[in-house]
């Protein structure tokens, strides 16, 4: 996926060193219930669902309440471009609320709120009296299905797809199940083929094609692109990805000699693994990285077929590329402790938890949020600033890479801070 920096990033305030945005303690003392806080990408806003009085919920943003109230509300999230969304219900009608403005349509139920990574686009799964479907950017699909259980929004935010059930199934009817009752709907249109299962799906970069993991018959899985299965079949497959700006599909597949990465059904890396998954392309599409397990119980990263020498005994999470694609970092865990490994060099310090690494624009520095006990830290290039916070948002590098945006909660108050990178190294 071509994850471009949102242009707004340049317009963020990179000068003011500290701004106190909100006093959360005040919220806690003035509302009977304050739920989990969320912080906007640029750090200027902090919000939480609050109970204003018995069984009445609203959203508090920087201390200001939304005008809308709800009997129930959940899934409060900032989109990547900084709009605040939640799902709310009144009189048994659910809908999506964006910045205190509910969508026109409401539904019997709403869930699975998903944003597109590149340009504004938000989708949800919905249930109405006619069945299950999707509402994308406020527009519900015309078609409804017996059931729907996933949602993927295209990178440009204009299309949506998800797994749907085609006909209903009586309890215990294993024979109808064998006929394949599941399919994929893209913008409400069904793939022509049905399967035993359709699992995770993915859009191509420009959103014209969709690939998904499918099960053909018991014990045989493969990847289907726009409904057409690969010629090759496997015991198991994992989530496919599209080669950026192209139509080739890559997926980890369980072959007779172990897990391999395949492209359009043919071997890609000349290696097999005990496990391989979480494939990620570099922003320019030139490099491919994946989490691999070279032997039972050992985990590391493979980049273009080269497996790192350092491996970990517990888990390695999905790799993250630097903007220029030259460097790769990943969260890893061994002996109960979390750390980050960058280009096969693990950080020395370790933590009770660590979040995804973020690269500086030049790719030279890596920052991450980490925790020890109930204290949170910002860690840059493995160095712990030793300043503890009770809550913390994800750190963000300034476009010129010289500063770091830190979103911190200290003693019940939320601060937005701009810290020169050199102070943290």
């Amino acid at each position: 996926m071509n994850l471009k920096a949102y242009p707004e990033k340049h317009s963020w305030d990179w000068e003011t060193s500290t701004k106190e945005i909100a006093n959360i303690s005040d919220w806690i003392s003035s509302f009977p219930e304050v739920q989990e806080i969320v912080i906007s990408p640029e750090g200027e806003r902090i919000a939480a669902i609050v109970m204003t009085e018995d069984d009445v919920f609203s959203v508090c943003v920087n201390g200001e309440l939304w005008t809308n109230t709800f009997e129930k509300a959940w899934s409060l999230k900032f989109s990547p471009n900084g709009s605040l969304f939640c799902i709310g219900m009144n009189d048994d009608e659910w809908t999506v609320i964006e910045e205190d403005k509910p969508w026109e349509d409401s539904f019997d139920y709403v869930w699975n709120m998903k944003f597109s990574p590149e340009s504004p686009g938000v989708g949800v799964n919905v249930r109405t009296s006619e069945g299950y479907g999707v509402a994308l950017n406020g527009n519900p699909w015309d078609s409804k299905f017996v059931q729907m259980r996933s949602l993927e929004v295209s990178p440009d935010g204009k299309r949506a797809a998800g797994t749907v059930q085609l006909t209903s199934l009586a309890e215990g009817d294993v024979f109808s199940f064998k006929k394949g009752l599941w399919g994929l709907a893209v913008d409400g249109e069904l793939w022509g083929t049905n399967f035993l299962n359709v699992w995770d799906c993915v859009f191509s970069t420009e959103g014209t094609k969709v690939a998904a993991e499918v099960r053909l018959v018991s014990g045989r899985q493969t990847i289907a692109v726009d409904g057409i299965p690969w010629d090759q079949e496997f015991k198991a497959v994992w989530r496919p990805i599209f080669v950026p700006d192209g139509h080739d599909v890559i997926a980890p597949c369980l072959t007779t000699d172990g897990w391999r990465l395949l492209v359009n059904g043919k071997s890609l890396w000349n290696k097999s693994f005990n496990q391989a998954w979480n494939t990620v392309f570099s922003p320019n599409g030139a490099k491919l990285a994946a989490v691999v397990s070279p032997e039972f119980g050992r985990w590391t990263i493979g980049v273009d077929g080269n497996v790192w020498k350092n491996s970990f005994g517990e888990v390695v999470l999905a790799p993250v590329f630097s903007p220029d694609g030259q460097r790769v970092a990943a969260v890893a865990k061994d002996s109960g402790k979390w750390t980050i490994i960058v280009n096969d060099v693990p950080w020395i310090e370790n933590f009770d938890m660590i979040w995804d690494p973020a690269f500086s624009p030049d790719g030279l520095h890596v920052a991450a949020k980490a925790a020890r006990g109930s204290d949170y830290f910002v860690v840059v290039d493995g160095k712990n600033s030793n300043q503890k916070f009770s809550k913390l948002g994800a750190p963000v590098f300034s476009p010129d890479g010289s500063r770091l945006l830190m979103k911190t909660v200290e003693a019940g108050r939320y601060f937005r801070k701009i810290v020169p990178l050199k102070n943290l190294l």
Partner: protein, 442 residues
């Protein structure tokens, strides 16, 4: 030998599927599984077993069926694997039905027998190989297969739809709030201490258990979360049918849900087989030597809450109790002692069953057997007379049963043998005895 005929049970999952089998198809699967999916354990166990029969006394099926040798652990291996190895290429389809009956419905893969075999042969594993062969030929009892189908589609055991799941949590949060002001079920909260996962019967038919846990968490002030997305169900019947690909996928979703939410650890509700799947069989198939983040069973968690004083006991439970020790957490995790300790902390009158700890008898429901459904219920209840005797001897009124499968299995035994006892989860006991500070009461 004058052995009574085994009643013929009709199960469409087997009776219909068997029609499509041929000796060639069977041979192909058998050879593939034996040659490429098994290795040292299988081969050495098959070579080592000296046919001494010492494992027999371990099995509740054997003990309950008048010591019928067809129900002894090695007897079951003989009737299945020995034949399979001997006549690999000429196995008739009807034989596969026998295999499924024996491996899927007459063994709980409870592993008691590997504690009785002097070589420590893992007979349950051998019978799992039989299940694998059956499953690869789609010879799986109908109800069990339906559960596996549900897992494959929904990642949960009971076809619970995504909206139903979230809706149930929101409803139970409301219920819990009605009792305890601060009770919440935080959905998708990042970085919580506890990721709490359950098995699908909870949202489907026992929703109050979720409300209970919300109250317990509120009283103990635990920082916890549950996911709104797939991966919330920790159970895994695919592990038991022999569909390991589906098992692996289900377990991956479960562990990745917790990883995604950056939880420090997973606490699982009171279920034995779910623990086995999430702690051992699932990670093993996926390549994790242990679960990627620490995973503990509810018994361990309640032990922690009680011993650290986060939950105080206001009054002890008076009715005489005994315990059903779930194999998968007692033989499977050594939680027998902690289970005793939390019972001692909460109950006044406890009589342990005999034999107990690692030597407990399985409930007879586990290992996917109860999930084989009504057709197999009669043989299942008959196959656990020893359990009925064992429980009756304790003279208790309540059987504390920290496992969903055991729970249903023991209920069937209670009614089958008219024991007049009742089954409770430990959380239900805890709800009755836990101290709720006045300032938290709604």
């Amino acid at each position: 030998m004058g052995l009574p005929a085994i009643p013929i049970v009709s199960d469409p999952g087997l009776d219909e599927t068997v029609k499509g089998l041929t000796p060639e198809k069977i041979a192909k699967v058998v050879n593939r599984i034996i040659d490429s999916e098994t290795a040292a354990r299988f081969k050495v166990y098959m070579k080592t077993c000296v046919h001494c029969g010492l494992c027999s006394d371990a099995c509740h099926w054997f003990l309950s069926n008048d010591r019928d040798p067809r129900f002894s652990p090695v007897g079951k291996v003989k009737q299945t694997l020995w034949e399979i190895i001997k006549r690999k290429d000429s196995l008739d389809p009807a034989f596969l039905k026998e295999c499924s009956r024996i491996a899927h419905t007459e063994c709980n893969v409870c592993r008691r027998c590997s504690m009785y075999c002097p070589f420590g042969i893992d007979i349950a594993y051998l019978l799992m190989v039989v299940r694998r062969i059956c499953s690869e030929l789609e010879m799986v009892p109908q109800f069990l297969q339906d559960t596996v189908n549900s897992h494959s589609v929904t990642m949960n055991q009971m076809w619970v739809k995504q909206d139903e799941w979230i809706d149930t949590l929101q409803w139970q949060e409301e219920e819990a709030k009605g009792e305890i002001k601060t009770a919440r079920i935080p959905l998708d909260k990042e970085g919580a201490d506890v990721f709490y996962s359950v098995i699908a019967p909870e949202p489907k038919i026992l929703a109050q258990l979720i409300g209970n846990i919300a109250q317990i968490m509120a009283v103990a002030k635990v920082d916890w979360t549950m996911p709104s997305f797939d991966g919330w169900d920790n159970s895994n019947m695919a592990m038991y049918s022999g569909d390991f690909e589906t098992m692996g996928r289900v377990e991956r979703y479960h562990h990745e849900a917790a990883l995604k939410l950056k939880a420090r650890r997973i606490v699982m509700g009171e279920c034995g087989h779910a623990f086995r799947g999430a702690a051992y069989d699932g990670p093993k198939w996926l390549g994790w030597k242990q679960p990627p983040i620490p995973l503990i069973h509810a018994v361990d968690f309640y032990h922690e809450l009680i011993t650290t004083g986060r939950i105080k006991i206001a009054r002890k439970f008076k009715t005489p109790v005994t315990v059903q020790e779930p194999c998968n957490i007692v033989r499977g995790r050594g939680l027998g002692k902690k289970l005793r300790e939390i019972i001692a902390a909460t109950c006044e009158d406890f009589t342990p069953p005999y034999p107990d700890f690692e030597h407990n008898y399985c409930c007879g429901a586990g290992g996917g057997v109860i999930n084989c459904g009504p057709p197999w219920k009669t043989s299942r209840v008959k196959g656990n007379e020893v359990k009925a005797k064992q429980l009756a001897e304790t003279k208790a009124k309540i059987i504390i049963t920290p496992c969903h499968n055991c729970h249903s299995g023991i209920e069937d035994i209670i009614s089958g043998y008219k024991l007049g006892m009742h089954v409770k989860f430990f959380s239900e006991i805890l709800m009755e005895v836990m101290e709720i500070p006045d300032e938290l009461r709604a």
